[in-house]
Amino acid sequence: MIWVNQIVQGVLLGGYYAVLACGLSLMFGVMRIINLAHGDLAVLAAFLVWLLTERLGIPLAPALILVLAGMAALGVALQRVVLERSLRAGILVPLLSTFGLAIVIENLLFEGFGADTRSLAPAIGSLAYDSWSISDEIYVGRLSVLIFALAVLLLAGLQLLLSRTQLGRALRATAEDPDTAELVGINSRGVYAAAAAIAVVTAAIGGVLFAMRAAFAPYAGPSQLIFAFEAVVIGGLSSLWGTLAGGIVLGVAQSIGAQLDPHGFLIAGHVVFLLVLAIRLALGSAEARGRLRTLLGKSA
C-alpha cells in the first residue's frame, strides 16, 4: 500500500513538473533554444510574489496577476535583447548567454533576498496542508491535486492555442521553418516574442506553485531547470502531452526512489532520465542500422 501511495504522490508531482516544463518545451519547439535561465526565472517569479504579498501586503490574486504580467513583459524583453541576438550567432551562443543570465539572476536574488529559505505556503492558508483521504493509508494533498488539475488545464489551453488560433498556426509554421513562414506573411519576430512571453509566464506559474509546495531560496533555480528538462526529454522533446507524461515518469521515479532510500529521490530521477535517453539512443541507432540494412539489401 505504501508503494501505491508513493506512485500516487509521484503522479501528482508530475503535474507540477509539467507546468514547470511546458514553457521549456515550447521554447525549444519554436526557437530550438534551451533556455538555461528557465529555472531561475521561475524562482524570480516566486520571489516577486513573495515580495508583493509578504512585504507589501498585497492580496495573493492581484499579486499573481501583477507578477505574471511583469514576467510576460520580461519574456518579450528576453527575446528582444538576449535570444534574438544569440540565435543569429549560432546554435551554441543561446546556451552561453542564457547560462550567463542564469548566474546573474540567481546571484542578484541572493543579493536582494539573502540566503533564507522562504515559502508562499502562508499565503494560501490551510490549502498548503489540507488533504483528502482516499483510503486509510493514502492521503492526497489538496494543493497537489489542484496543481495537477492546473497542469492539465494549462496543457489543454496551450494545445488549443497551438491548434486553433491564428497565433498557434503562426507558432507552428515558424517552428517548422521560420524563413518560409516569413514568406507567407508571418512576422517571425513577433511570433518568437509571443513564444518567449508564454514560456516565461508558464515558468513563472511553475515557480509560484513550487513556492507554495515547498520552501525556495535564491539558488533553487538550477535544480528546477534540471527537473523541467528531464520531464521534457523523457516525454519527447517539444510534445506538450509528452511533457506531462515525462513529468509523471520523473515524479513517480523520484517518489519511489525516496521511499527506497533517503538519498533516493534525486538519484532515481536522474537515473531514470539517463536510462530513457540511453534506451532512446540505442533504439534510434538500431532503427538507423535497420534502415541501412534495407538500403543495402535493396541495392544488392
Binding site: 525549444f28 530550438r32 533554444i33 534551451i34 538555461l36 538576449v82 541576438r85 544569440s86 550567432a89 549560432g90 546554435i91 551554441l92 551562443v93 546556451l95 552561453l96 548567454s97 547560462f99 550567463g100 543570465l101 542564469a102 548566474i103 546573474v104 546571484n107 542578484l108 541572493f110 543579493e111 538550477p222 531547470l225 534540471i226 528538462f229 528531464e230 526529454v233 522533446l237 538519498h263 534525486l266 538519484i267 536522474h270 537515473v271 532520465f273 539517463l274 535517453l277 540511453a278 539512443l281 541507432s285
Partner: protein, 353 residues
C-alpha cells in the same frame, strides 16, 4: 605565372617565432620560480595554472568541438574523488593525483559513447545531470561522509614547503603537457576535422571526417584535463567537500574564461584565465557582486563579442602568436594593388563561430 610561384603558404611568421620563443622562456622561468618567489606567490600561480587548464579544456570542447557542456565539473570532482580513494588504498599521494586524472579520463571514455550522441542543449544539460548524479553517488561513499567531506590526509604528512613546491611543479607540468597535447592535435589532421565538425557536422561527415572519433578524442582530453585540474585543486586545498568540487560554478568559471578570452582560439582561454584570476584576486572579496559580474560578462560577450577578446584582436589586426593556422603570403611584387605585406590573408585559420 610568376605570380603564382611567389605565393607562399606559411605556418611560421616572424611574430609566431618570437612568441613561441617567449612562451618557451616563460615556461623555463616558471619552472625555476619556486627558487625566487615566496610561498604565497607559488600558491597563487598554482591556482592560475589550474584555471588555464580548465579554460583550455572547456575551450577545446566548445570552441573546437562544438560541444557546450554544463557538466565538466563531473570530471573535476571524479578526478579528486578517485585520488582520495587511491590514496586511501595506499597509493603514494602524487601518483594518486595523476592516476585520479587518468581515471576521470577513463570515465569520459566510457561516457563518450552515450554523451556524444546527444545534440546541442541535450548534451549540455545531459552532462549536467551526469555531474549531479556523480555528486550524489560520491556523497553515498562512507569515506566521504556526505557533504561533510574528507581530506587528502597523506598530503598532510609532507612538510608544507615541499608540498607547495611539488604541487606547483605538478600543476605546471600538467598544464604544459595538456596544452601542448591540445596544440599538437589542433595543428595536425584532427584540428581540421574538429573545426569542420564545429562549423557544420553534416557537411564534415559528408567529406569523410570521422565525426564521432574526432569528438571523442576531444571529449576524453577535456575529461582528463578537468580531472587533472580537480586533483590539483585537491592537492592545493587538501580538503574534499563534494559540493565544492561538483558545483556548477566551475562551469560558470570555464565559460567565462573561454568566452571572454576568445572561444575557438588557442591563446584566448589562457588570456581569459589570467583575467579571471586577476578579477578573482581583486574583486573576489566582493562576493555576490563578483559572481553577478562574471555572469553578466559571459552574457555580454556571448551577445556582443562572441569571438572574445583574443579572437577580436586576432581578426582586427591579423595577429597570430602561435603557429596554429596557415598564413598565405603574397609578396608586394606579386600583388601591387594590395600593397605589400598588409595583404597577407589567412587561410585555414580558425573561422568565426
Amino acid at each position: 605565372m610568376s605570380r603564382r610561384a611567389s605565393i607562399a603558404i606559411e605556418r611560421w611568421t616572424p611574430l609566431s617565432r618570437a612568441a613561441s620563443i617567449i612562451a618557451a622562456a616563460l615556461v623555463a622561468t616558471l619552472v625555476l620560480a619556486p627558487l625566487f618567489l615566496d610561498a604565497n606567490a607559488i600558491d597563487r600561480l598554482t591556482t592560475l595554472f589550474i584555471y588555464i587548464l580548465l579554460g583550455t579544456m572547456w575551450n577545446a570542447l566548445a570552441g573546437y568541438g562544438g560541444l557546450v557542456s554544463v557538466g565538466q565539473q563531473a570530471f573535476f570532482g571524479i578526478g579528486a574523488y578517485a585520488a582520495i580513494r587511491l590514496s586511501h588504498a595506499g597509493v603514494a599521494v602524487y601518483p594518486a593525483l595523476i592516476l585520479g586524472a587518468l581515471f576521470a579520463g577513463l570515465f569520459s571514455l566510457l561516457l563518450s559513447t552515450f554523451a556524444l550522441r546527444l545534440r546541442g542543449g541535450e548534451f549540455a544539460i545531459g552532462m549536467w545531470v551526469v555531474a549531479e548524479l556523480c555528486h550524489l553517488l560520491v556523497n553515498l561513499d562512507g569515506l566521504i561522509q556526505g557533504e561533510t567531506g574528507t581530506s587528502l590526509i597523506a598530503l598532510d604528512a609532507i612538510a608544507p614547503g615541499h608540498r607547495r613546491d611539488d604541487t606547483y611543479w605538478l600543476a605546471l607540468a600538467a598544464m604544459v603537457t595538456l596544452l601542448a597535447l591540445v596544440f599538437a592535435l589542433l595543428r595536425g589532421r584532427l584540428g581540421g576535422s574538429i573545426q569542420a565538425i564545429r562549423d557544420n557536422e553534416e557537411a564534415a561527415a559528408s567529406l569523410g571526417v570521422k565525426v564521432l572519433a574526432a569528438k571523442r578524442i576531444i571529449f576524453i582530453i577535456a575529461g582528463t584535463g578537468c580531472g587533472m585540474a580537480g586533483t590539483l585543486w585537491l592537492a592545493s586545498s587538501i580538503t574534499f567537500q563534494p559540493q565544492a568540487y561538483f558545483g556548477v560554478q566551475w562551469t560558470a568559471y570555464m565559460i567565462f574564461m573561454a568566452l571572454v578570452g576568445g572561444l575557438g582560439t588557442f591563446e584566448g582561454p589562457i588570456l581569459g584565465a589570467v583575467l579571471f584570476f586577476a578579477i578573482e584576486l581583486f574583486f573576489g572579496a566582493s562576493g555576490i557582486w563578483y559572481l553577478v559580474g562574471l555572469g553578466a560578462a559571459a552574457l555580454i560577450f556571448a551577445l556582443f563579442l562572441p569571438r572574445g577578446i583574443w579572437g577580436t584582436v586576432e581578426d582586427r589586426f591579423g595577429l597570430r602568436l602561435l603557429p596554429l593556422g596557415y598564413t598565405v603570403r603574397i609578396p608586394a611584387a606579386a600583388e601591387p594593388a594590395a600593397g605589400g605585406d598588409r595583404s597577407a590573408s589567412r587561410v585555414g585559420s580558425l573561422p568565426r563561430c
